[in-house]
Symmetry: C2
DNA sequence: TTTTTATTGACCGACAGTCAGTCAAAGGAA
DNA sequence: TTCCTTTGACTGACTGTCGGTCAATAAAAA
């Protein structure tokens, strides 16, 4: 046998090497040559590890998401109320520390919308389901603890999608310059409607 | 002197001539050559009327949107309750008759997210504000008529963005195959929370 | 050596966008 | 009427760029 490269690890290395490239530019303006230079490898080698540009974004999003989820999980565990948990859940859309992931997520949605290839739909679906179930769990626990009314259950998908909706409005228009206030205002309003009286 | 062409009209003609091309394919897969053939003009002529592919999509969206708004306005005027008006407002996301505009809107969001050029942000902002104000008016009238509680005012942007959020989830994932049910379910839940008792 | 794996950049085809040139209509001069 | 000139509309061959391929090479293990 010859050298055995840890393919998975090298994929991560290449992806991370050109993270700034993707964070600072949109996927359409980044070229494979730039990627190869950034990663210090030949253009052909890029294709040994990735089928196309999009796959690099997927890899990057995956890596950053795992790290992001770990931190988020901790923070949410510490939150006192369901309302607070939901608010923390949405900090992704405006917190400074998530800026890179957010920039990639933007590209990511853009790709998924314009090039609806099966793999992308599949990956996007996986991410969506993961976060939706997490979000469902938070709401479900709130209902169990009688913090919020069972009606919260009927708002899960709506509330969840609202985040992306506001995010897109904020990213693609001049409206909503302060998405943080907007999100928290909406959450507060909805929670004032579904929180039970006996909440602490 | 030579022939003077109505530039604005010809822009519309060219855009409409390649409508199907854009409806059936995503903007990235449509080529300028295809556009030229569809419109029965030379490739260079395309650039006499449009700066790039994106501009053609803008033109198309504008044309179809005007027609769409006219019809929607009629329907909403006929609706009995605020809840019904809101539901009709959201039919865009699933009604068969709006399928073409929806397909273009998808591309449109994708472009705005990945190529945030000033013109695009501007156009997107205009559309967003137009619909948001329309939506605000519906809610405001509902509050005036005491159909819904003043809290509805605090939910305007949230409710409004929810539509795009669900739309994207439905377009970019396998989740939410039935967006119609999902939207109406969410609207019903929220309205059951903000509708006043004295509603007819 | 030989085999296997990793790497590479020259190469190719496709595409967006340009531009030098063609064409047709209109007006004016004779 | 005829012919010449002007001018805007139109064109497709051409150029540069980019994504993606592949034959050649390197280099380690057997």
């Amino acid at each position: 046998m010859a050298i055995i490269v840890d393919k998975a690890q090298k994929k991560k290395d290449i992806a991370l090497a050109c993270k700034d490239l993707f964070v600072q530019n949109s996927i359409n303006t980044v070229t494979i040559s730039q990627i190869a230079v950034s990663a210090g490898i030949g253009k052909g080698t890029v294709y040994e590890y990735f089928k196309n540009k999009e796959e690099i974004v997927f890899e990057l999003v995956t890596i950053l998401m795992l790290e992001h989820n770990r931190k988020k999980e901790e923070k949410i565990a510490q939150a006192a109320s369901t309302r607070e948990k939901v608010k923390i859940f949405y900090t992704f859309y405006y917190h400074e520390e998530d800026r890179d992931l957010r920039a990639l997520y933007r590209d990511f949605i853009s790709i998924s919308l314009s090039a609806p290839k099966e793999e992308m739909l599949h990956f996007q679906t996986e991410c969506f389901v993961y976060y939706l179930q997490w979000f469902e769990k938070i709401i479900e626990e709130g209902i169990e603890k009688k913090e919020i009314s069972p009606k919260g259950r009927d708002l899960v998908k709506g509330l969840f999608s609202l985040g992306d909706g506001l995010f897109i409005a904020s990213a693609a228009t001049h409206v909503l310059p302060d998405i943080e206030t907007e999100i928290n205002h909406t959450i507060d309003t909805i929670f004032s409607l579904i929180e039970t009286k006996e909440k602490k």
